[in-house]
Structure formats: structure tokens, C-alpha cells
């Protein structure tokens, strides 16, 4: 099983990770903003397959991927 960690202070809410996740478990929050004022990305379902697509594409290196 895999898991991703999104650093909310680094995330700029660009939505790229959301768009590339093959199993569509990410979304941009419409509530949580970080210090910089961005609505940040969140994991909505615990089904990550650890493909790293989101992490590879995140321009701000906000995502780490772990395999448990």
C-alpha cells in the first residue's frame, strides 16, 4: 500500500497533481488555504497506488510518496 504526503505550506494549489492521478483520489480544497493564501491539494480517498505521477508532476515538490 502506498501513501502520499502533501506539504500544505509548499503547495500552490495548481491542480496538476489532481489532473494526473490515474485513480483520481486528489482534489483541491475549497476550504483550506495555506499561509500564502492558496487552496491546497488534498487526498480524498485512501487508494493510492504509489505511481508517483502526482509527485513527479508537482512543480513545487510538495508531494512525497511512501510505500508501506
Amino acid at each position: 500500500m502506498a501513501r502520499i504526503i502533501i506539504d500544505p505550506e509548499v503547495c500552490k494549489g495548481c491542480g496538476i497533481c489532481v489532473s494526473v492521478c490515474p485513480i483520481k483520489i486528489l482534489k483541491i480544497s475549497n476550504i483550506v488555504t495555506n499561509k500564502a493564501g492558496y487552496f491546497v491539494a488534498e487526498v480524498v480517498e485512501d487508494k493510492c497506488i504509489g505511481c508517483c505521477s502526482c509527485a513527479i508532476m508537482c512543480p513545487d515538490s510538495a508531494i512525497s510518496v511512501l510505500k508501506q
Binding site: K12, C14, C52, I56, M57, C58, P59, D60, V65, L66
Partner: protein
């Protein structure tokens, strides 16, 4: 617990200054990861251009020089000639490399300087607010082509790789994209090859990366990636234009 992906050590902790979704950030990661993987840490001098990546000197965890607009290849030449055993890379935007600095890149290539140049082609001047770049597509609206780029007035887009590949000097000339994970992986391979060439003293490598500028394209980041895939690659086909290791 295994770490499948994490931020490269060759990036500093300074938050990137790029707009949300700007793929400058992706290319930074690829560069950093490559430098880490080839064991270049503590042996690298990078050059930041003038453009949105002007602050690159804050982001890479190595010695860095920030140089005048367009002159990164000259600066890299100065550094490399005096430090032939260090790894030297230049990072340049399309305005920087293909407009004001086209003389410097061509001559560094013709000399076969043993350096690696990363060229971010986002078809626009990002930093200054969206003016026409030498790589702006025909018909593309920018703040200085308000009616869209018109060939008869604004001229044709320049395909730098194709042009530079005609020279004897360069060793490796390739165009890649970061529009999706598959292409990002390919881009990283190309970048890695660029650095390996340098280590093996094969000479000049140029890796052009098709990149986005959501802000000045007036698109969201995801639309921008599609634009790269669907529009830019038509004019700027991906591929290897010269590879001295393949004997051409």
C-alpha cells in the same frame, strides 16, 4: 517504509518563486534529481539567466552564478574553461537563449563547450509579463502581438534545436516536454544524458524543454499542459536532433 519519491537534496528549502503550476518547477526537479543521481553534489556550478528563473540561484543546492540576460553560455564558457573538471550547467528561457542570447548559445555550441544547457521553451516572455518570444507560435496572442503573431510582421518561430544541430560542435541536442508523467521521465533521461556527456568530456549538450506559462498564456495549469501537448509539439516536435554517441 520505503520512500518512492521525495524532494531532491539538490534543491534548497527556499520556496520556488514561480506561479502556481508553472513547469519551470518540474524542470528544476529533474535537474536536481539528475545532479544527485550522477553524484555531482559539491562539484557543480550552475548559471541562472534573466527570466522567471532569474532566482534559480536560490533554488539549486550548489554554487550558482546569476548572469546578464542571454549571456549564460558565455558565462558557462568562462567558468568551464577555468574549471574543466567541474560540472557546469546553464538554465535559460526562450527569450534569453533564442532572442537576445542567440549569438552566445550558437557559439558555445559551435565551440563544443563541454557544458550542459537546459532551455525552457514556454513560447513567451514570462518574467516581463507576456511579450512575444522568438518561439511564440504563429497566431498566438501576446502583449506585443495583440492581433496574434503574424509571420509577415513578427516573423517565424525559431526552432533552436534544429538550427544548432546543423553545427559540428554540439554533441547532444534534444527537445523534450514535461506535459505529462511519461514525458517528464523522458525529459529526465535527456537531461541525464546531457550531464553524462559532460562528465565524459563529449562536449556540448542542449536540452530544450517545452514548458508552460499559465499566467501569461491566460490558461489554468492543466489547460497549459494540454496546450504544450497539442499545440506546441506541432511546431516544436520532440526528438533527438543530434547525438554524437550515435555517430551522427
Amino acid at each position: 517504509m520505503e520512500i518512492l519519491y521525495k524532494k531532491s537534496r539538490m534543491l534548497t528549502d527556499t520556496p520556488l518563486s514561480y506561479c502556481p503550476g508553472c513547469t519551470h518547477g518540474i524542470v528544476h526537479k529533474l535537474l536536481a534529481e539528475t545532479l544527485e543521481e550522477i553524484g555531482a553534489e559539491g562539484n557543480v556550478i550552475g548559471i541562472a539567466p534573466v527570466g522567471c528563473s532569474v532566482f534559480a540561484y536560490k533554488f539549486f543546492n550548489c554554487d550558482m552564478q546569476q548572469v546578464a540576460h542571454g549571456r549564460a553560455p558565455a558565462c558557462a564558457t568562462g567558468i568551464k574553461r577555468c574549471n574543466p573538471d567541474k560540472i557546469v550547467f546553464a538554465y535559460q528561457g526562450d527569450g534569453d537563449i533564442a532572442s537576445i542570447g542567440i549569438a552566445e548559445i550558437i557559439h558555445a555550441a559551435a565551440r563544443g563547450e563541454n557544458i550542459t544547457v537546459i532551455f525552457i521553451n514556454n513560447a513567451i516572455y514570462g518574467m516581463t509579463g507576456g511579450q512575444m518570444a522568438p518561439t511564440t507560435l504563429v497566431g498566438q496572442k501576446t502583449t506585443t502581438t495583440p492581433y496574434g503573431r503574424v509571420v509577415g510582421i513578427n516573423g517565424n518561430p525559431i526552432r533552436l534545436c534544429e538550427m544548432i544541430a546543423t553545427l559540428d560542435g554540439p554533441c547532444f541536442v534534444s527537445r523534450v516536454s514535461v506535459s505529462d508523467p511519461v514525458n517528464v521521465r523522458k525529459a529526465k533521461k535527456a537531461i541525464k544524458k546531457g550531464f553524462e556527456n559532460q562528465i565524459n568530456k563529449k562536449g556540448f549538450s542542449l536540452i530544450e524543454v517545452l514548458s508552460t506559462c499559465p499566467t501569461n498564456w491566460h490558461m489554468n495549469p492543466v489547460q497549459s499542459l494540454d496546450y504544450v501537448k497539442n499545440e506546441m509539439t506541432k511546431i516544436f516536435p520532440l526528438g533527438v536532433f543530434k547525438d554524437c554517441q550515435e555517430g551522427n
